[in-house]
Amino acid sequence: MGKRIGMEVGIAAAEAVALCNIDVAAVYPITPQSHIAEHMADIIHDGRIDAEFITVESEHSSISACAGASATGARVYTATSSQGLMLMHEILPIVSAMRLPVVMGNANRAVSGPLNIWNDHGDIMPQRDSGWICLFTENGQEVIDLSIMAFKIAEDPEVMLPTVVNIDGFQLTHMIEPLEFPTQAQVNKFLPDRKPYATLHPDNPMTMGCFNMPDIFTETMKAKDTALWNSKKTIVKVFNEWGRQFGRKYNVVETYKAKDAETLILTMGSMGETASIAVDEMRKAGRKVGLVKLRLWRPFPVEELRAAIKGCKTLIVMDRAISFGGAGGPVATEIKSFLFHDKGRPRIVDFLMGLGGRDVTVGDFIAMVERAKNKKDETYEYYGVRE
């Protein structure tokens, strides 16, 4: 066990990336990601690591600079949040289509309007079809661990896909937590130099980001989709390798007291910690309640989810984002689709909650479990909305 130190999680994210021997960081500051951007710039300009910090004029430019740098074979990092991620939206599918292993930290924040700088998942959900590997973190230690693992996953020759590590804004980015850092030697052992599949270099002319006519575009899309689905194998492999080297085991779907549970709460991100306390309290009261946490959102871990919820009667999905005029929150909608044909699937209750930074307390989780008991249909509901 290494030494645990107290550090703000945003700062820790930058420190973790600094251990990864990156070549380029192009980061545009935005609340609540700013401390990652500022600290990354400090680390590089203080000469602590041999890397280039590109000061860009927008997030559109930061992700574009990252794509270009990655195409030359560099190891590249960026970070953003909310409106910044929305501005990157145009470039995100290009980075994945070009199979560039850019790693991004996203400090999850509500999307305007109205302007709101606090936490929900409204920024990442519109990016879900971009072809990026999408991971969620629950606490500061996971931010460190997954930020390092993200490079190994993204750069694996079987994967070659950009990866975004979601870090709940404020709830995580601005928390000071006791954290354990691996040493530089340990990270070097875990994460060898990037061996790019191809690089842009004048000596070896080649094309990345080519043109596709209707007669090949469908084939290219299926190839990309298949690559993303196949990446789960490597994600699991890297999680296991991390577990062996550092003793902290990660799963694509995490469970807590889920085995015999009749009612399961499903969360993504930082609210999982609060939900686990609520589960403890309900268990104390003799209720068969458990918790399922999606660590991996893309590619969707459908087999692992099926195994985790097997036998439960009610699945309560906590959606921290809205699909206006749609079938419900993005997470519940997705799960309903996957389980549509499953015989004996649980009743799926969808709560939209924790929006724009509204606190979700232990009491709220208990109240939602109570509310789910009496809810007859499977339509979505705004939990705690004033009526």
Binding site: A97, M160, T207, C210, A223
Partner: protein
């Protein structure tokens, strides 16, 4: 390096033949990629009216018009998009646009 097949395909036919990221490793092979299939009209040159001035060659935005051995300027229909600029610019009226179906 991958083994050279006796007959090289112009581009991948099946989805699993697409290179990662659809990367292209053969410099200049864009010339093999015929992009003229979407045109609705094609230019027809009347060599009796053509004075070989080459104005069509200068104006062609696709740069698909080239001088042949007899000095006439002919559009390569493998790349021509049928925009009709050559016909519009041809002041002797030697180029006419005809529907692709004809």
């Amino acid at each position: 390096m991958a083994k050279k097949k006796t007959e090289q395909k112009k581009w991948p036919e099946k989805w699993h033949e697409v290179t990662p990221g659809c990367m292209v490793f053969e410099p200049g092979n864009a010339a093999n990629y015929k992009t003229g299939s979407w045109k609705a009209q094609r230019p027809i040159l009347d060599t009796k009216k053509c004075i070989k001035c080459g104005i069509c060659y200068i104006f062609c935005p696709e740069a698909c018009i080239q001088e042949d051995t007899e000095g006439f300027f002919q559009a390569d229909l493998g790349y021509c998009k049928g925009c009709g600029i050559c016909a519009h610019e041809c002041w002797p009226g030697a180029i006419s646009m005809v529907e692709e179906e004809e």
